[in-house]
Amino acid sequence: MESLFLTNLASPPLLFFFLGAAAALLRSDLEIPAQVAKFLSLYLLFAIGFKGGVALSESTLDASVISVLAAAVGLACVVPVYAFYLLRLKLGAPDAAAIAATYGSISAVTFVTGTSYVDTQGLPWNGYLVAAMALMESPAIVIGILLYRLHGGQAGVATVAHGDGGDGRVDWGSLGREAFLNGSVFLILGSMLVGWFTGSAGMDQVKSVVKDPFIGLLCLFLLDMGIVAARRLGQLSRSAGAAGGQLPFLLGFALLVPLANAVLGALIGWQLGLGEGDALLLTILAASASYIAVPAAMRLALPEANPSLYLPMSLAVTFPFNLLIGIPLYHQLVIWLLSP
């Protein structure tokens, strides 16, 4: 088991994440220009989507695949519900809804780092997990908003919450657009379609963009994420303090809920009879929390939720935790569950 952690530690992407965090903590002026960082994130979605689509085109879409996708979506619908009621113990409805959506959805970058871990371990995995990832992004956004409407929509500021019209009604059109046509969701799904349609002939044409530089560019992107995550950490403690001394609760949530979700994910993978690589990736998906798609959508759908809570929780706590400890730990869990 120890060796899983060590292998993980010696991976360049992880080390560049911590290099970036060190730069920010030491107040170096190192910074990836914003537009390039944005492009690197698009590149990762494009590449993982395309790879997944090509893999899909080479496998058969049978009942077992459908059941994995259904289970993944189910998980993405259940997690925000239990998370919301847990969070309501300490937080108002808007923050609880936004954080619940964040943890119900997934982090594509965590998944992508997971695939590079799985590849390094020499484990095979199936392309439809990319489809599972894409399908798990959006439901939590819708469910988060619904829970908020159910439990807080009647009060105060909330009456002018949606559509800015002051009439207290949900604007389903724009909510749907923010959930399902969100740039990152759209790009993964679209690239997956293109990859699936063009198959391995398409892959031959683009593999020196989609495959070869993948880990190297992931390093550069994680360098930036490390910088940003370290900067946000301080913000989290200030905001959580201002919100009534909730820091310990929020930190606990950001570390324990992913673990609980990982257990759920691993159990599902085991029940569905997935292979080691696939089960691990599903577990990583379950454990991950969104810091790109959901925050962007939440700012539009729920602006009264404080982004200085949900964004740092997922980016600066859960993400590094998953990268550093989570992935090898979940791997251990999966090995243990799958071993006869």
Partner: protein, 98 residues
């Protein structure tokens, strides 16, 4: 040159499109948007360093020579700002007619 008001709104990048649509609805004669703005305000530091736009601002500049429209614009953006943060300044200027 005719007198007009210069309205400046600093708002979160993610809300750019929504504010622009609102301005259109409210009858703004036009607007310009500056991107990639960082800043500090009541909600703390926003370093324009992050891929979702959640911690990035943009600045709208609106020249408007109809005072009724100015009032409508200001009242129309007020609820967005009070829910999502940001600031709005109004000042005097002369507008070159060409």
């Amino acid at each position: 040159m005719k007198p007009c008001k210069r309205i400046e709104i600093v708002i979160e990048q993610t809300l750019e499109r929504r504010l622009a649509e609102r301005l259109d609805e409210l009858g703004a004669p036009g607007y310009s948007v500056i991107h990639g703005v960082s800043g500090r305000g009541d909600r703390g530091l926003r370093e324009a360093d992050e891929v979702t736009g959640t911690f990035t601002n943009c600045i709208f500049l609106i020249a408007c020579n109809d005072d009724a429209v100015v009032t409508r614009l200001v009242e129309g953006v007020r609820p967005i700002l009070s829910r999502a943060g940001g600031i709005c300044l109004v000042s005097e200027a002369l507008w070159l007619r060409h």
